[in-house]
Symmetry: C2
């Protein structure tokens, strides 16, 4: 016989967020950052990521303001887009993923970089003041920073969560060391992923509405 | 000036998979499991998850066989579906997500469980012999096991990667302790997520084609 389990969504959210607050010792961070850090931890089940976050002081305010102003959200892969809770977006913000644009493979060959990096170039018409959410490819983040150094328009916020063993730690270290005047949050090291990138978007869009809804 | 970074996709995959093999000491696992474990680790950047995987001995064979036979893939959320690489599916396998079925909210209220759990009931016409990929909700896995105990048709394989602080560890422990005769893989503890669930599907579908493609 299976043991009983919690089936009430409000109770599940409340217990989850309480565990995060206690174990991650959220009170060491500015209150404006609590929803962002809470959703990041909630998305991966790892309170220890709180110790390895890098961010600009104004990232929560800048992200919220951009969202409210209708900024589009540029994602490096379909999974990040799929994790964005559309009803939380305050201004019907567009969610844009160019990785599967039919021009991407040829453009990747031309610039001798990955498809993820090539796809970033197609963000140009949308990126000024936008929210960038990278949850997969280190080359997308590296190439974005390169393009910005060459005069590409700047986003309002970069949510930097590329994951893995080749370039992930390095690309996020480059962002944190020189954010080019852009507000940002990133998880140092190899860990990251699309769920974290989506969680960051959802936090900037709506905070923790699951708590207020109860 | 930014340091150079690796831009060649084949070189990135080769270096990533080599790091996984070495750091996770893959040779302690049966060769049939290597692609599955490699893709799981690659999806999250954490070699240490190899130590906390639970699985049935035949999961790789059973999963591959089901895929080849055209089994549908049932996912607990849109992100898992978005991470499945469609061109890797060997038999144009259907990817089914019922979480946003318009009947789900009412059904959740009726059964007094989460929307994720209610959505599992709509898998009934498809689930016999299917691949189940759970990357978000503990209640989806708990409720699936409950339904199977009540005579619900059995899938061929359960890929168990619910994540978080309430029920994730417990639901995966229940699966591992009593898999009801179903082949499975699960990550014990709080960690999990949609990227891991998708990675497991991609491994069962295609192994590591990035290596052969070089």
């Amino acid at each position: 016989e299976m043991r009983p389990y919690e089936t009430n969504p409000s109770a599940i959210y409340a217990a989850s967020f309480a565990t995060v607050a206690a174990e991650a010792r959220l009170d060491r961070f500015a209150p404006a950052l609590h929803p962002l850090i809470t959703r990041l931890i909630h998305s991966c089940g790892m309170v220890e990521i709180a110790d390895r976050l890098a961010f600009s002081a104004d990232v929560a305010f800048a992200g919220h303001h951009a969202m409210q102003s209708g900024a589009p959200i540029l994602c490096d892969c379909e999974m990040v887009g799929a994790g964005i809770i559309r009803r939380y977006l305050p201004a019907h913000n567009q969610v844009i993923v160019t990785l599967n644009d039919p021009r991407t493979p040829d453009h990747a060959a031309k610039i001798e970089n990955t498809r993820s990096a090539a796809a970033v170039e197609f963000w140009e018409p949308h990126i000024a003041g936008a929210i960038v959410a990278i949850g997969n490819a280190p080359t997308a983040l590296f190439h974005l920073l390169e393009l910005i150094d060459q005069g590409f328009p700047k986003p309002a916020v970069i949510l930097g969560f590329p994951v893995g063993f080749v370039g992930a730690a390095e690309s996020k270290a480059e962002l944190a060391a020189n954010p080019r005047g852009i507000d940002f949050v990133a998880l140092r090291g190899r860990k990251g992923g699309s769920a974290m990138a989506s969680a960051a978007v959802n936090a900037l869009a709506a905070g923790l509405p699951e708590i207020k809804e109860r």
